[in-house]
Amino acid sequence: MFKTLALAFATLLPLGIPGQVGAQAHSKSSDLHAQPRLVAEQMAAKPGQTLWIAIDFTIEDQWHTYWPGTNDTGFPLQTEIEVHPQIAAAGDLLWPAPHRISSPQGILDHVFEDHMTVLLPLTISNNARLGETVSLQVSMRWLVCKTACIMESAELSIQIPISDAIGRPSPQTAAIFERARSRLPQPITDSDPVTITQEGPSLTLTSTPAERLAFYPSENSRPPRNLLRDGQAEGQTLTIEFRESNDPILGVLEVWTSPTESLLYTIHWPPENNEPRAQARDQELSSFTGDR
């Protein structure tokens, strides 16, 4: 569990329902401004399977929580995960893309409003036996803000039976996962309509179907020089100036193809050696031959 928190004011710990067999475990407290629950995609899991668990927050109107990226203020969700017995392992969390909010003076954060749903993969060991039960416990804390901010926390658990009869997710459960997955960024492939070029300290991202573009840098990305100014643009081109650093440029690109629809891509620049991309190859070739 968390070491003694250094935060002085009341941490609202809800009365948790002890882990129940089934798809959901959620807190009873209505005091939280961001209310979490654990939702398993299926009622049970087979040996060798990866079962997805949603850490699904319902956020009170006009409040927001934070994405783990480059923010001026805010504190993103922190989790401690325990799995018992050791017949399953929890993998890395998958984060949906956020949106930008900024104040009139220029304070900029990447946040979630209404919902924040983080996906946790739970991989069941091949050696798990039918009839066993996996208990997943998640301790978490997060900052939720309106104008003032409150640090909240919860401890939730969920029990997953190991069974052949895994059933199908309910429509409500399926909707939670579909909504979360629709906001997961994907790596750029050669068939995606995105090109990236670098000139000096600036990166230019171009997408011909775009009406609008935005870039959300990760926490450990090479830092932009002026993210407020450069991080979003109307049209097909987004040019962002970065400060000098040895770190790669990491984050998420959002490409709006209409006022309400967008494509989401993970950005890793320069590309890693084992992820050749047409653009990177073209750049290498052109610099080698001197062509522009």
């Binding site: 070491k3 928190l5 250094a6 935060l7 002085a8 004011f9 001026d72 203020t73 504190f75 922190q78 104040s103 009139p104 003076q105 220029g106 304070i107 900052l143 803000c145 104008t147 003032a148 901010c149 409150i150 640090m151 002026n226």
Partner: protein
Amino acid sequence: MSTTRPRPSLLAVVAAGIAISLPNLANAQAQHQHEQKDAAPQRAHETHEVTLAALPATSTLATLEDLVGKTAFDFTLTDTEGNKHTLSDSLNAGKIVVLEWFNPTCPYVVSHYTKSSTMNDLVAKYGDDNVVWLAINSGSDRTGDSTLNETTRKKWNMAHPILLDPTGAVGLAYGSKNTPTMVVIAADGTIAYGGGIDNNGSFSKPDPTNYVEIAIDALLAGSHVETGFAKPYGCAVKYSRK
């Protein structure tokens, strides 16, 4: 606020500091047309005069990281007890000045005053011989209320004043986005450090690196401040939402 006479040894250190940093001062002020005034006739051990930049009129935040190494902006603000403080007065007295953006309701600030004693410990460590420590509240809402801040100041046994900046003019000029945000100004008027108080934004480090303490110690020793900027953490400064 009172101007104390610097002790002779301190004056020597300050004079040496000014001599070393004059070239930097000239570079930093390339965009500010000014002349270093000759100090008016001075008595022995009397103060020197530092030329600061004028506070810019702005409605958007400066970039604090880009202000490090540049000349500080002069300002006059009134504290929660009704006393006026002018930055150049403290610098002219040969002191290092620390600015600490403050909000009595921000959980991060609360933690630094109640779970640990980060700011109060440093204020006590340096005393007021060499360092002037000023908290500034740039909030325009109830968190900037004078009574609330003064009550909290007493409750937390703060030895340093809380200056009120309700228009946010000083906060915006210094690019302060968070509480706490720290600015350390050397006695020659150069911004020596700007950014977070330490590297402990998640409150999980048992032994955090306190950038402000490191900067002040370096300035007092006449040596280079290695880390001029570290990303601040904390609640948003409550500027007017208009």
